[in-house]
Symmetry: C2
Subunit: 109 residues, 2 copies
């Protein structure tokens, strides 16, 4: 993908029957911009990134952000920041597909 | 603002009559997550960040991304990545307010 160019994220979504689909839109040493695509019932289990901050933004669909001991309902447009070391995840609890923009800084090696 | 928590970006937008309004949603050494808010006709002129990648995502409204020698129409949901050193900007060419999520990595000092 050439940058800078105007990206409509949903066009690049990749869904899989077995598990969450992942797409990389941009990657550098500073930043990873990707998509996490969830069929109904799929999840990305609670996990944490040492030394990396994570931003989620809900592109379409509904579900919950998974945090330690909590689940927070999410809707299209919602944003969540998981600072480095803070466990986080996503579960599609809806009946439609769920697409989430996932940004990590710095980019994983 | 406490993190992680669910953020509805538009709630935090700050518009100004004189110039683009800015809001910081999260800041660390790794990452800045902010909002740029444009009244009709306002712009953030072409500029570049040495050593920092920028991500824009349009929350609401319409306008153009400014690039060197080009203007690219933008609509709600569109995303653009300006890798480090690449000049970029935003102009609200619409009749409504324009709100853009602006992410920089690493965070400015």
């Amino acid at each position: 993908m050439d940058h800078p160019s105007v990206i409509r994220p949903a066009v690049h979504a990749s869904y899989h029957r077995d598990k969450m689909g992942k797409t990389t839109l941009f990657q550098s040493s500073r930043l990873l911009v990707g998509l996490n695509a969830f069929e109904p019932g799929q999840e990305h289990a609670l996990h944490a990134h040492a030394g990396m901050d994570k931003v989620y933004q809900v592109i379409e669909g509904e579900g919950v952000f998974l945090l330690e001991g909590r689940e927070l309902p999410m809707h299209a447009g919602d944003l969540l920041v998981a600072p480095e070391g803070v466990p986080h995840g996503v579960r599609n609890t809806g009946t439609e597909r769920l697409l989430v923009l996932a940004i990590l800084a710095p980019g994983p090696r």
